[in-house]
């Protein structure tokens, strides 16, 4: 594949702390089937959501650097925590457009709320960064219409495939009861893992509550931005874009977890060593 600077055929790069961002890759591929996409999951250092701002920014720099080295035309930050802590830094340091997951989610929530409160659930890092809260405030919501909740057990429950299990039902009740009681009408699923438990969350919150899956919102934003830049690819022929997968570790339950997020098995994976990660970080510090 030719990867000269102005070539729309260059791939879109997507990175995440681990495998959860495959939901974003899936949404992108469904919306833009002609695009070539490279996915990088930092499975050796997952999760990001419990870790400090400086650490997440350093990791995100390496992740994005790796994708830039692979010749991508755009970097999509699928990870909410990395979007919260590193988006501005990445925009300042790398020379392709960088899209984060927070603003698209905020815009969708603002469009869907019917006058009630908007809830945001995410990792400790995402919630404590305050970025969703700032975005919603910037869109005109008063503080009484913004409710946030850290849900640290959701990621391990999803990784263990425990959707629908009594433990997941209990965790959903415990974390989400304050949001439901406060009359939230729109709930942002602010972590790539959470859409996998949409049914459990929807059952508890009730059918009248909008669940905002950032993956769809982010894919739409990528389409808009590529269109503006004249970099959309594959609209004419019917050839399906290539998907390439890079991971920094092959986790024990790789096949199982991969299929859970991507919706189909991953056949071929490139692994990226520690030394390559370090080099990738060098050129955008």
């Amino acid at each position: 594949m030719s990867r000269s600077k102005n070539d729309a055929a260059r791939p879109i790069g997507v990175f995440d702390s681990g495998m959860g961002g495959l939901t974003v890759l899936r949404a992108l591929h469904e919306l833009l089937p002609g695009e070539n996409i490279i996915y990088f999951g930092d499975t050796a250092r997952v999760p990001y959501g419990t870790k400090g701002e400086k650490t997440v920014r350093a990791f995100a720099s390496q992740d994005a650097g790796l994708l830039v080295d692979l010749g991508v035309k755009m970097v999509v930050v699928a990870c909410n925590t990395a979007s919260a802590f590193a988006l501005e830094h990445l925009r300042e340091t790398i020379d392709v457009p960088v899209l984060g997951v927070i603003n698209p989610g905020v815009r969708t929530a603002l469009a869907e709320t019917r006058g009630g409160a908007v809830g945001v659930i995410g990792t400790s890092g995402t919630i404590r960064s305050g970025r969703y809260q700032e975005g919603l405030k910037g869109g005109g919501l008063g503080p009484d219409r913004i409710l946030v909740q850290e849900c640290p057990l959701f990621v391990p429950l999803v990784e263990e495939g425990m959707m629908g299990h009594a433990m997941t039902v209990m965790a959903v009740e415990e974390y989400l009861r304050p949001l439901r009681d406060a009359g939230v009408d729109t709930l942002i699923l602010g972590c790539t893992h959470y859409p996998a438990m949409k049914e459990d969350i929807g059952r508890f919150m009730g059918p009248e509550v909008n669940l905002v899956d950032s993956a769809d919102a982010l894919a739409a934003a990528a389409q808009d931005r590529l269109g503006e830049l004249g970099l959309l690819h594959g609209g004419d022929d019917r050839r399906e874009g290539e998907l390439e997968f890079y991971l920094s570790d092959i986790p024990w339950k790789f096949q199982e977890i991969g299929a859970r997020f991507l919706g189909k098995p991953i056949h071929e994976v490139n692994t990226v060593g520690l030394d390559e990660m370090e080099e990738a970080g060098d050129h955008n510090d």
Copy 2:
């Protein structure tokens, strides 16, 4: 503090994937109060238990290298997963004695079992490595007397401080029922996090089941080994040894999680950057 090669005053180095290994530091400090001890927790890349063998070995090399650079007289691998995958490699590549957590736990279990089965619970990595199983077989147990169980939700439950919570009770029942039903009389808590939920585990398994906390067994092994080498320190005067803490990330719930494992607050922490980790790995590859 003087750190010449043969000086018993040199510190003991303890490393873990994160904060769980503070239980090992605590056991060491209680047994050997005169020893200076340096703790390194790789909080930027925690957990190790879900990650592949090669990745864990690379991380453990950097962790141990960092401690050697700080002048330790012995490296104690508090992390079960790192002990499972990296102990032999570390012994071949660094020039101070290296102690892992698996053999001391196996010896204690073999001494305590009363003819029933021995159970081992741990992370996916630890259980799938087969090291505990090999050790127990080597000690004469037949395969029908060895039962193992991965308990991937225990670590996040402990990190969230959910000991005694209904979700923890449910997870304990789900993971441990097969072991209890099979007549396990001795259960190895094969992860540094699990001793924090000893009460939940003990309540379900019953008072007649021995729970083997590897931290105590490991501290005793360190004492024996330092004695053999003539490197015990602080037996004469009553001065308490110094404890130093290094972490690769300051997690969001640092104070809370630290106190949970150490039993008291940590006042001063040194942080180790990504670049320093990489350099530490260089000299023992």
